[in-house]
Amino acid sequence: MAAKDDPKLVLYSYWQSSCSWRVRLALNLKGISYEYKAVNLLKGEQFTPEFEKLNPLHFVPVLVDGDVVISDSYAILMYLEEKYPQRPLLPSNPQHKALNLQVASIVSSSIQPLHMLSTLKYLEEKVGPQEQLLFAETNVEKGFHALEKLLKDIVGKYATGDEVHMADVFMAPQIAMATKRFKIDMSKFPSLSRIYESLKALPEFLESSPEEQPDAVM
């Protein structure tokens, strides 16, 4: 990521974390440069004392902006929206703004937590590897059905019209994960498929992709 000047933002991220991906995408869309600091979740770097000081929950992403330290992708994105209002990710119309926040919530509360590694690991201990995969797939599909219903009358080139907004920022990594990790049949979700095709064409999306990150292991 070419910086025009010394980036003052620091983003703690893991290449495969879809929550980190949301923030990387938003930073790219807003044209904000940042320093990337990798946290290797597989090696347990989220449990080091240094990282624990930044985020006692041991999650990525974490954003550091001068004195301000923020964890949780939703909190980070709302902070960025307020502090760096260029290229807004929330429409000003209250109904559309609320819809974007609702989509973000569906992804961050109803889908992602039910397939994140820590949940699946715990579930695998209880029900076995096949069953935990089925659990993940079922919940992704349930969430996608909900999003499809919600967006089908509003979708344009992107989720809520013809500009990229918060809904897209949350959905893009989620759909990517669904197709690559869970082999979800996207033909069942025509609106989501259409949105994803549009987003995949954006350089900001490509640059924020896991494979393009400094800590990617190919």
């Binding site: 939703y74 980070i76 609320a98 609702q102 919530s105 509360s109 937590p113």
Partner: protein, 218 residues
């Protein structure tokens, strides 16, 4: 500064902690509203009328004139913007982010992992004896996170001496968590103290499940 012109309508289920959040927010902001019960056990969320309001069938849903908003996070943000007279966010941007992060621990890390649907699944796949341990595990994990996050930042309430978003999202979870799943609250001195503070607020008490029009008679 918007005066309340239309009567707000809130579609809610007495026991839904997500609905409870908004009931609290409305009470704190002194906003009158018409309570419209949606009996989730009887499947009223699938009625054609409710599907028109929210095709996903979740409560709460807020109707404010022409505007229809679903999802407690989206509704909360809408209320904050439209009715700013009793703000539920601190003005400091970093503290605001802290509130969103705390709210999201509840929304994304606790509630979705112990809601009725997931518990039913666990009961079916693992057994009825696993229900409570599963819920207890995830609630306690989230409570540990909140205890760590807030311990140096709490005042009288979660993030200071004024009631704010974190409290609105935390209170229903504390109410729900402590009563049903054998959560060992002795491990969480800050949350226990906050719970005590919440029980003294009439706005919170009035929002509690047992005080709703659709709560079954004791």
């Amino acid at each position: 500064m918007a005066q309340q012109q239309n009567k707000l309508k809130l579609y809610s289920y007495w026991r839904s902690s997500c609905s409870c959040r908004i009931r609290m927010a409305l009470n704190l902001k002194s906003l009158e509203y018409q309570y419209i019960p949606v009996n989730l056990l009887k499947g009223e969320q699938f009625s054609p009328e409710f599907q028109k309001l929210n095709p996903i069938g979740y409560v709460p849903v807020l109707v404010d004139g022409d505007v229809v908003i679903s999802d407690s996070f989206a509704i909360f943000m809408y209320l904050e913007e439209k009715y700013p007279q009793i703000p539920l966010f601190p003005s400091d941007i970093a503290k605001k982010a802290l509130n969103i992060q705390a709210a999201n621990i509840v929304c994304s890390s606790i509630q979705p992992l112990q809601n009725a649907t997931v518990l039913k699944y666990i009961e079916a796949k693992v057994g009825p004896d696993e229900r409570i341990p599963w819920a207890k595990f995830h609630i306690e994990k989230g409570f540990e996170a909140l205890e760590k996050l807030l311990k140096d930042r709490a005042g009288r309430y979660a993030t200071g001496d004024e009631v704010s978003m974190a409290d609105v999202f935390l209170a229903p979870q504390l109410h729900y968590g402590t009563k049903r799943f054998n959560v060992d609250m002795a491990k969480f001195p800050l949350l226990t103290r906050l719970n005590g503070a919440y029980s003294e607020l009439s706005e919170f008490r009035k929002a509690m499940p047992e005080n709703q029009p659709d709560a079954p008679l004791a």
